[in-house]
């Protein structure tokens, strides 16, 4: 037996109590703070659900074409979207798509600035690295429980949990991308008297863009792998179908929904990757 130094029950009690206090004090204001996210998610959902299916397929494959300028990719994306419909999962697919869009937007809005701050300050980076490690390895149920205590089961804790899990690679890749920009180009910008923001927006971000796009791509892939867990706390969509398949032992239902998640992943992956490649176009061509 390992010798007992402190009483874990006391420690657990302290944590439980402080979380409870926190919930009592902050639940309302936090819910208000996150309300816009819920509205955004509901907005995306209603737009996707109320639009005719052919319009959604058209817009998504147009986005694919815009990102890659290749008809073959647009066609592949259209087939993937149609397949979700053929599997009878159109409505659930749209809910998951809406959730993914919001999570990607929130992750980008949070992750890119944090990555930039990390690239600026070694001290901030030293603080962030272990935090990111924790975010990636801590089982999500651990922070889902307090999140549900705060917001109740629903879409907000689902978005939160998904973003917490999905954002670390984006933060890391933004930091890396900016640190890897050629010193001489940075020096050149400085030597012409560029201030920090001019340097950031005209030199560092454009040159780090391939890396940032790879981060967004990773974030979307990780977010998709969270949809089943998100459905357990009240997010509807494909994850919920998988969950029902598991609980009712309906392997077919689970498999179909799982397949639809893979198809959505293909759609997100190909579009974000194509954007990343186009961002590199002038950085690596020799003629």
């Amino acid at each position: 037996m390992f010798p007992e130094m402190i009483d874990p029950r006391v420690f657990r009690g302290v944590v439980d109590d402080s979380i409870e206090q926190f919930v009592i004090q902050w639940a309302t204001s936090l819910e208000e703070f996150f309300y816009p996210f819920l509205q955004l998610l509901n907005f995306f959902e209603s737009v996707l659900l109320n639009s005719p299916w052919w319009l959604v397929v058209g817009v998504v494959s147009a986005a694919a074409y815009a990102s890659a300028r290749k008809l073959s990719l647009a066609a592949l994306i259209a087939v993937a979207m149609l397949a979700i419909g053929f599997l009878g999962l159109w409505e659930d697919g749209m809910r998951t798509l809406a959730l993914m869009l919001v999570c990607t937007l929130v992750a980008t809005a949070v992750g890119v600035p944090l990555g930039i701050l990390m690239s600026w300050s070694n001290r901030f980076r030293a603080v962030m690295l272990p935090v990111l490690d924790i975010m990636q390895t801590m089982p999500s149920f651990v922070y889902l429980i307090p999140a549900i205590m705060l917001f109740g089961p629903g879409k907000i804790p689902a978005v939160l949990a998904t973003v917490v899990y999905a954002v670390p690679p984006l933060i890391r890749l933004t930091d890396l991308g900016i640190r890897q920009v050629d010193d001489e180009i940075i020096e050149a910008a400085q030597s012409f008297g560029a201030n920090r923001m001019q340097k950031l927006f005209w030199v560092q971000i454009p040159l780090a863009l391939p890396s940032i796009m790879a981060g967004i791509n990773q974030a979307t892939m990780m977010a998709l792998s969270m949809v089943v867990i998100a459905s357990m706390i009240g997010a509807q969509g494909l994850g919920f179908q998988v969950l029902q398949g598991i609980t009712r032992l309906e392997v077919g239902r689970g498999l179909m929904a799982g397949l639809a998640i893979v198809l959505l992943a293909v759609v997100f992956d190909r579009i974000t990757q194509a954007f990343g490649k186009r961002a590199q176009a002038h950085l690596h061509t020799n003629s």
Binding site: G193, H282, T285
Partner: protein
């Protein structure tokens, strides 16, 4: 403003490492660079460097890699802060500038050209050339007009819409040069600007720089490790070794009167026929007249044949062989400026 110099740097020390002040105390105590590295772990980049640079001249700072020359040039626009010392430009201490003043100084007074060009690969040639003006907030139409003008001046008309990677090294560096000139700075800093180019292009760029300089009269600080380049373009040359200045002077000072064995070794590999120019050995006309107090046709025999000031010895050798005294030297306008004595040439070549 008390001095006639455009730029003066005074007693610059630069130590890279955790404890610069301890290292500086040791340098002043006479310790060598390698002793300090061993004892304190600090790297001495520059050791008590002082130099004064006149306006309108090309001042070359030469040294091998690791000599601190790239560190030194970055002090002129404060891309690197010295550990101690002063950098005075037009009578103002650049190191005392606030952030805003420094930005203003970099935007208006000094531009830099980089060894690996430092161009933005995601911007067109035109946008790259206009970068300095964009930083200053100059409207697009105006800055692009100026950028176009300078691109044309450096021989790049017609490639404005290309991206840097689509151009050859020489052309990319021309973009770098145009970008530096668009701001119309007084001072041009060139950090091994032509070192990455192949010999033919390099020589072309050197000629172009000299051509431009005739019109522009900028104060140019030019870093190189190439002695031939230094001799070709430098009005004055400073030689840096292990972060210390070993010799400063004109090309002929360096070639004829090397300060120590290091400089002697350095110039040993130079092709003296190519490197030494008529101007380096010139016996000037007015000087001869004043000195002798008589006409310039002094005791020496009258010159035969004429050459020009900026010709290398190699080109005047055939003429020189045909004379037994001296040649008349004309400048580019055809005015007699002095004489080239055969004896002097022989002395210089077999130094």
């Amino acid at each position: 403003m008390s001095s006639n110099y455009k730029i003066e740097i005074k007693n610059i020390y630069k130590v890279f490492g955790a404890d610069p002040s301890a290292a500086i105390a040791k340098i002043k105590g006479g310790a060598s660079k390698s002793e300090i590295l061993k004892q304190t772990g600090n790297v001495v980049g520059l050791n008590d460097v002082s130099m004064a640079i006149e306006a309108g001249h090309i001042h070359v700072i030469m040294g091998l890699s690791g000599s601190g020359k790239s560190t030194l040039i970055r002090h002129f626009n404060r891309l690197i802060e010295p550990t101690s010392g002063q950098v005075i430009v037009d009578g103002q201490d650049v190191l005392k500038f606030s952030k805003k003043e420094l930005e203003h100084y970099r935007r208006n007074k000094v531009s830099m050209v980089f060894q690996r060009f430092g161009l933005c690969p995601h911007e067109t040639v035109l946008a790259n050339a206009a970068f300095g003006l964009k930083v200053q907030g100059v409207p697009r139409a105006e800055r692009e007009e100026k950028a176009r003008y300078w691109l044309e001046q450096v021989g790049l008309a017609g490639v404005e819409k290309h991206y840097p990677r689509q151009l050859s090294g020489g052309m990319q560096q021309r973009v770098g040069l145009a970008r530096a000139l668009v701001n119309d700075p007084d001072i041009l800093l060139m950090d091994e600007a032509f070192s990455a180019l192949d010999p033919l292009i390099k020589s072309e760029m050197q000629d172009q720089l000299l051509q431009l300089q005739k019109k522009l009269n900028k104060t140019i600080v030019f870093i190189t490790h190439d002695l031939d380049e230094a001799l070709k373009i430098g009005d004055r040359i400073a030689i840096l070794k292990d972060g210390e200045l070993v010799q400063q002077g004109t090309a002929s000072d360096i070639l004829m009167r090397p300060a120590d064995d290091y400089v002697k070794d350095f110039i040993g590999g130079v092709n003296r026929y190519k490197a030494i120019r008529v101007s380096h050995l010139l016996r000037k006309v007015p000087l001869a007249m004043v000195k002798g107090g008589e006409t310039f046709a002094d005791a020496r025999p009258a010159p035969t044949g004429t050459v020009r000031v900026n010709q290398p010895l190699e080109e005047v050798m055939p003429l020189l062989m045909g004379t037994d005294s001296s040649l008349a030297v004309h400048n580019d306008e055809g005015v007699l400026v002095g004489h080239l004595d055969k004896a002097e040439v022989m002395k210089a070549l077999y130094h």
